[in-house]
Amino acid sequence: MRDGCRGKTILLVEDNPDDEALTLRALRRNRIANEVVVAHDGVEALDYLFATGRYEGRDRHEQPQVVLLDLKLPKVDGLEVLKRMRAEELTRRVPVVVLTSSSEERDIVDSYDFGANSYVRKPVDFEQFMEAVRQLGMYWLLLNEVPQA
């Protein structure tokens, strides 16, 4: 939607294939046409972000427009991914929306402490979920301004 280094990519970090499929469906049903890259665990997410491992050779400077991050992930959990992102100059200002099942107070507090931009609890009611995704897309993909790297 915008020119520059930031592409239109959305990075979805989600280990549960059901949730992945439902999220993709929700995005699609909300007519969000951005390319969605799915990472199934923390390591994959970090590989993508820093162009390592499977994503070696990718242009590191092209960072996703928003990262939808689940917290409970195999290998490296979501909070760790968030921490690493915020520690690197390259990914420091990439918007991160924590999208998780947990409504634990501690998870919410930790997420914001580590620099999450938003925290959304995945509702069980898919209609509500769709509504949430619609608002996310509206906000993070259309309204939110990020500094130009």
Binding site: D18, R25, S101, S102, E104, P123, V124, D125, F126
Partner: protein, 774 residues
């Protein structure tokens, strides 16, 4: 010896001599007088004889008066005889003839005639013829012859007299000896007895006279004296023994001019000098000695007490400290009595001063022990502090230089766990072998205390170790718990000033307290360990629960989301093909999934109420109620509900939990008043039994009181899901919240008549400590 007057002997000799000399003189004088008288008699007899021889001539003369006759007579007188003079008178007294040897004359007038010759012996004789008296004649003979006779007699008498006097003097000297010797012997004997004060001696004599009686009298007197002296000596010995051995200091001070402090010290019993470490005579020399040994802080009090005597008190008790020979302060209790003269002036003070230091020490030490016990109780969970407290208290109570507490590690070894006092060879942490001897080993083996005046001389310690430690006097008391020696309290002094029996008793008390404290420490520490272990267990459990809850919230919801999501996807994508029944089934699948999600959320909320720290903050329940109502009005804009919230329900508690509480109560009221017109919800409180009872009242569906006890149990519902939705966890959560705050919750109601849920918050048990401490 009386040298200024004659002695008995001289006086006796003089008296005897005077008597015999007087007798001699009187005898000699009488003899002489007799001689003189007899010589005069002889002369007068001669004169009479010669007159008688002249008688014829005299008669003739007187008869005739003839001169011839007179001449013849003179002739005859002159021819013979010794007459010196002769006077012849007639009957008329007229002198007829006056003759003096060598001269003779006829006297015409006899009356005018001179008296007859004076010298010599005179006789007057009558001259008779027959019976006829013719006249008288006076004749005298000269005494020269007799004078010569007396003179020769005197010449003879003088030497004889001198001889007699000398003889009587010798006699006097010899005689006085017989009388004076026994008396002088008696005098000498008495002098000797007096000098030797030997009243048991007796004087002896063979005499049975008055001197003998005198000796007997003297002996009786000596007997009485001996008895009296013996009694006196016995009393004095008793007196001395009493004064020398009593612990009290007995004294007497003479008071002059009302000066009660500077009088002359007449007497102080030996204990006084012993206590102060002075020579007894120093008291007499230095009246201020006593005051100088007194503690300066006690002067004013002593002065005040003493002055009560001056104001008329008969006796007072003065309490003060004296510095003894060792430089220690001794507490004295001094009862002093004033002696007064007739005018009421104090002339002397007699007092008995008692050393009450031990009693005072006991009182002080017992007080200290009580405070130690309290300290030990306070620090019973801090082993290091407890040990140091014991050692420090022991050192202080008996004024030792070093105090150590040792505790038994096992059967053989003991360890010094605290050492208080001067820097010596004893180090805390040092281990020692009980079977290797030593005082501690002995005490541990015998279970009784030991006191040693100088450890250098004690075979259990030995001179080398004593010298290395630099300590002399020692006291070791075992710490015994249930008949087992668990340790010991050791006390030492640098000098060989031994610990006494009261030191030992005091430390034994401390050891008893220590044993109890150690036992308590074991219990408390054991309990603390137990609590710590349980707390750790609970924490682990809590962590597990948290992990479980996390998993539940995260992992149980994901499949539900998939069920719901894909059901919807099917409905959206294939709805037309399913037909109405298929769509209804999928709608039910989705509803079930959502209900389960709600159940999970409620369960998690309940779990959240149970775990986690309880915070204590000021919370306004009224404000919370308003917020909840606002939220509900927002969600259900179509409902008309009258809400009455009494403002100012400010409590202390956990804000998050209290939010859950109000959300559930008001949410319930909101839910169960559905269909009421108008619906009413009231929040307020009333005071009951000294506590504040909050309530949420509604005019909703109410409930049957028969099931009131079921209300607060999880998953218990009184309504069907079709009547009122819900999981049955709300009130269970309410009860958890209330109980965690120390309160109670109960419900009242009737079917179709609304319900009242009342609760207390336990006076804020969530934060009672902090509030009362503030």
């Amino acid at each position: 010896m009386s040298g200024y007057r004659p002695g008995l002997r001289a006086r006796l000799a003089a008296v005897i001599f005077a008597a015999s000399a007087t007798v001699t003189f009187v005898g000699a004088a009488a003899l002489y007088a007799y001689q003189v008288a007899s010589l005069r008699g002889e002369a007068r007899a001669q004169a009479a004889q010669e007159v008688r021889e002249l008688e014829p001539d005299l008669v003739e003369l007187l008869a005739t008066g003839d001169v011839e006759a007179a001449v013849g007579l003179v002739r005859r007188i002159e021819s013979g005889g010794a007459l010196a003079s002769l006077v012849v008178r007639d009957r008329a007294g007229r002198a007829l003839l006056l003759y003096r040897r060598g001269e003779a004359r006829a006297v015409e007038d006899a009356a005018a005639a001179a008296p007859g010759p004076q010298a010599g012996a005179r006789v007057v004789l009558p001259v008779r013829r027959g019976r006829e008296a013719l006249g008288e004649v006076a004749a005298a003979v000269p005494l020269a012859h007799y004078e010569a006779h007396l003179a020769s007699y005197r010449r003879l008498a003088a030497p004889m007299l001198a001889g007699l006097l000398a003889l009587s003097l010798l006699l006097a000297v010899a005689l006085q000896r017989r009388i004076s010797a026994p008396l002088l012997a008696l005098a000498a004997e008495l002098r000797e007895i007096g000098r030797r004060r030997d009243f048991a001696r007796r004087v002896r004599t063979g005499l049975r006279d008055e001197v003998g009686d005198l000796y007997a009298g003297v002996n009786r007197m000596l007997e009485a004296l001996e008895a009296a002296h013996g009694e006196l000596a016995r009393r004095e010995a008793l007196h001395r023994a009493v004064l020398e051995h009593v612990e009290e200091i007995v004294y007497r001070v003479r008071v002059a001019d009302g000066d009660l402090f500077g009088g002359e010290v007449e007497f102080v019993s030996p204990r006084g000098a012993e206590l102060l470490g002075v020579r007894p005579e120093e008291f007499r020399r230095d009246p201020a000695l006593w005051l100088r040994h007194m503690h300066p802080a006690d002067h004013a009090r002593v002065r005040e007490a003493t002055e009560a005597l001056a104001r008329g008190a008969r006796s007072v008790v003065r309490v003060y400290r004296l510095k003894d020979a060792a430089g220690e302060w001794r507490w004295m209790e001094d009862r002093v009595v004033a002696e007064r003269d007739r005018a009421g002036r104090i002339v002397a003070l007699t007092g008995v001063a008692r050393d009450v230091t031990p009693q005072r020490r006991w009182a002080g030490a017992l007080e200290r022990l009580v405070s130690v016990a309290r300290e030990l109780l306070e620090h019973v969970a801090e082993p290091e502090c407890l040990r140091r407290t014991v050692a420090a208290a022991a050192r202080e109570i008996v004024r030792a230089d070093v105090a150590a507490l040792s505790l038994r590690e096992d059967a053989r070894t003991c360890r010094y766990v605290a050492v208080e006092g001067a820097d010596v060879g004893l180090r805390p942490g040092t281990c020692f072998d009980l079977e290797a001897g030593g005082l501690c080993g002995w005490v541990a083996a015998h279970g009784e205390p030991v006191r040693v005046a100088d450890i250098a001389g004690d075979p259990r310690v030995g001179a080398d170790r004593a010298a290395a430690l630099g300590l002399r006097a020692a006291l070791v008391v075992p710490v015994v718990d249930e008949g087992r020696v668990v340790g010991g309290i050791s006390l030492f002094r640098r000098e060989a000033r031994p610990f006494d029996a009261s030191d030992e008793r005091l430390i034994a008390l401390l050891a008893g307290i220590t044993a109890i404290a150690l036992r308590m420490q074991g219990l408390v520490l054991g309990l603390e360990d137990h609590v710590r272990a349980r707390t750790e267990e609970l924490r682990a459990l809590n962590r597990e629960l948290e992990a479980f809850a996390y998993t539940v919230s995260h992992d149980l919801r994901a499949p539900l989301r998939a069920i719901d999501g894909f059901s919807l996807a099917v409905l959206e994508d294939e709805g037309e093909r399913l037909g109405p029944e298929g769509r209804e089934h999928l709608r039910r699948v989705r509803a079930a999934a959502q209900r389960m999600a709600q159940l999970i959320d409620d369960l998690l909320a309940l779990a959240q109420v149970t775990r986690g720290e309880l915070r204590s903050e000021t919370v306004d329940l009224s404000a919370l109620a308003r917020e909840v109502v606002e939220g509900l009005r927002h969600v259900h804009p179509g409902r008309r509900v009258e809400v009455d919230i009494r403002p100012g329900a400010v409590v202390r508690g956990d804000p998050r939990l209290l939010w859950t509480l109000m959300e559930n109560l008001i949410g319930n009221a909101w839910k169960f008043t559905r269909g009421r017109e108008p619906a009413r919800i009231e929040f307020g409180w009333e005071e009951s039994g000294g506590e504040r009872v909050y309530y949420v009242r509604d005019n909703g569906a109410g409930f049957d009181m028969a099931y009131a006890d079921k209300l607060f149990r999880p998953f218990q519902r009184l309504h069907t899901a079709s009547e009122f939705e819900g999981t049955g966890i709300g009130l269970a959560t309410v009860r958890r919240v209330v109980e965690r705050h120390g309160g109670r919750v109960w419900a009242e109601g009737a079917v179709d008549e609304g319900a009242v849920i009342r609760f207390t918050l336990g006076g804020g048990r969530a934060a009672p400590r902090r509030e009362s401490a503030a």
